[in-house]
Amino acid sequence: MSTASISVLPQPLLAVRGVTVQYKTTDHLVTAVYRASFDVHRGDRFVMLGPSGCGKSTLLKAIGGFIRPVEGEIQLESQPVRAAGPDRIMVFQEFDQLLPWKTVRDNVVFALVETGVSRHEAADRARLNLERVGLAKFADLYPHMLSGGMKQRVALARAMALEPKILLMDEPFAALDALTRRRMQEELLALWDDVGFTLVFVTHSIEEATIVGSRILVLSPHPGRVRAELNVPAGIEARVALDRRIHHLLFGDDATERAARSVHGRH
């Protein structure tokens, strides 16, 4: 890599520099992520991919400002991240991220008003973003009346309405059924086309990573270390090849061949 090619790159939106994250259980100090470094640029669909227990969710929480790294630094637009804030909004996997005591619309409005947006503007933005995710008709319902997919759409609408500098998603579709998950992935891509946000997306599914991502960060398990950063090519064929390559990176040769054989055998 030449220095020239680096200097061409613009200033990254998010810079993660040598970040180590640890947490304490009752009798252990667990190192979840070890000296991870990467950049996220404006407009990226940046996927953090790794097996369970590779610390990817922990790393995302550190970017969100919910956890302090014990080493290294996380910078958003060159400013160090110190606490949670509305410039980095997280969409969680769990459906209980919506406030059950507020209607769909009020969930969005509440978040905006609490972060200093005027009521009038908040109402406008809530309407716009609920339309974007196709839930304008359901604005007056309470969250418990919605299906899982609809709840995730509301959470996404709320996150987009806050207009964060970066949108963080922690396996947002993992608790959905396969058909709904597939549709939500397509909708997320369509929204990205429309709105043009910057996305950091955590998943343990290689398939989901190649569908959703434009760039994939592969983390090794326990503790999470950066194994690779890959670009996602256009076209089905190239993606299948990428899928296999990632499989190989994560599980090694034998497992990849076994998987390929079993896929072959099933058809």
Partner: protein, 294 residues
């Protein structure tokens, strides 16, 4: 059937696709409930029916007993209740009790709020609340009455002291437990919106833990009632009028047993009213609407 080691093969069947066509005219996809079914679904109707049955059982048994010094019949008690309200002092006695009760209840809620806020903001505060609750919650409020009389004299002060004691611990215990049960995701979501401290408690924790808070309020209310009536039984006339407990005590001494039952019925009636109207309305407007309770 011959035993065989060959795995059974599913039989081959032809595929089919068909049109489902229109729904037959006679089939009701969403039929309305009958009038009877709809009436039976109203909670108040079912509960009122039960009340009527209980009252009838009382009436039958008391009549067969025929001794109104031991158990006056339901109709006699009702007569005494009516007389007590219209010509007697029952209304003013009930009012005296309710006034003291509401003041003590509100003060108990306020103190519980302070303790709970302390408990969620610092670990030491949480330890303090746990310790105090473990120490004082099992202590009957009435047991504190002699001490209260010594400190606050023979008046409202003493009653308020024991009322606060009766409300504070169960409410703080329930609320704190509810707060601790609020999920991680909701907490992080609240943090993302920049909510901290008291604003976080008021806007996220209290509504999220509202089923627990409400059950604490209900328990506190019931404890306050018991304590008040018992305290009035013990030292009767406080600040002029005297309350329901005193009314019951007075009439028992004069062997006006139907009046005793009238006083008890008033306590029960007020309890039903608060539970069935006020708390029910709060439940309907909050935790039921939010899908936290069926």
């Amino acid at each position: 059937m011959a035993a065989t080691s060959v795995r059974p093969q599913p039989a081959e069947r032809p595929e089919f696709v068909r049109e489902v066509g229109d729904i037959p005219a006679g089939l009701r996809v969403d039929a309305p409930l009958t009038v009877w079914e709809r009436i039976y679904r109203i909670d108040a109707v079912r509960q009122a029916t039960l009340l009527v049955v209980l009252a009838a059982l009382w009436q039958v048994y008391a009549t067969s007993l025929g001794n109104n010094l031991v158990l006056p019949s339901f109709s006699e008690s009702l007569d005494a209740l009516w007389d007590g309200f219209v010509t007697g002092p029952l209304l003013s006695r009930a009012w005296t009790s309710i006034r003291v009760l509401v003041v003590g209840y509100a003060a108990g809620i306020a103190v519980a709020g302070v303790f709970t806020l302390l408990a969620i903001s610092t670990r030491l505060g949480s330890d303090l609340l746990n310790l105090l609750t473990a120490m004082f919650n099992p202590l009957p409020a009435i047991a504190l009455l002699p001490l209260a009389l010594l400190w606050f004299g023979l008046g409202q002060g003493s009653i308020l002291f024991v009322l606060i004691h009766a409300v504070l611990w169960p409410l703080a215990l329930n609320t704190h437990a509810g707060f601790r049960g609020v999920g991680e995701t909701l907490r992080l979501t609240g943090q993302s919106f920049g909510l901290r401290g008291v604003r976080f408690a008021v806007k996220i924790l209290i509504p999220a833990a509202f089923p627990a808070v409400l059950s604490g309020l209900k328990i506190g209310w019931a404890f306050a009632w018991r304590t008040l009536i018992a305290a009035e039984l013990v030292f009767g006339v406080s600040s002029g009028g005297g309350g329901l407990g005193w009314y019951i005590f007075e009439n028992r001494n004069q062997l006006e047993i139907p009046n005793v039952f009238a006083g008890l019925l008033t306590v029960i009636g007020l309890g039903l009213l608060v539970e069935g109207v006020i708390f029910r309305a709060i439940e309907r407007m909050t935790i039921r609407r939010w899908g936290m309770q069926r």
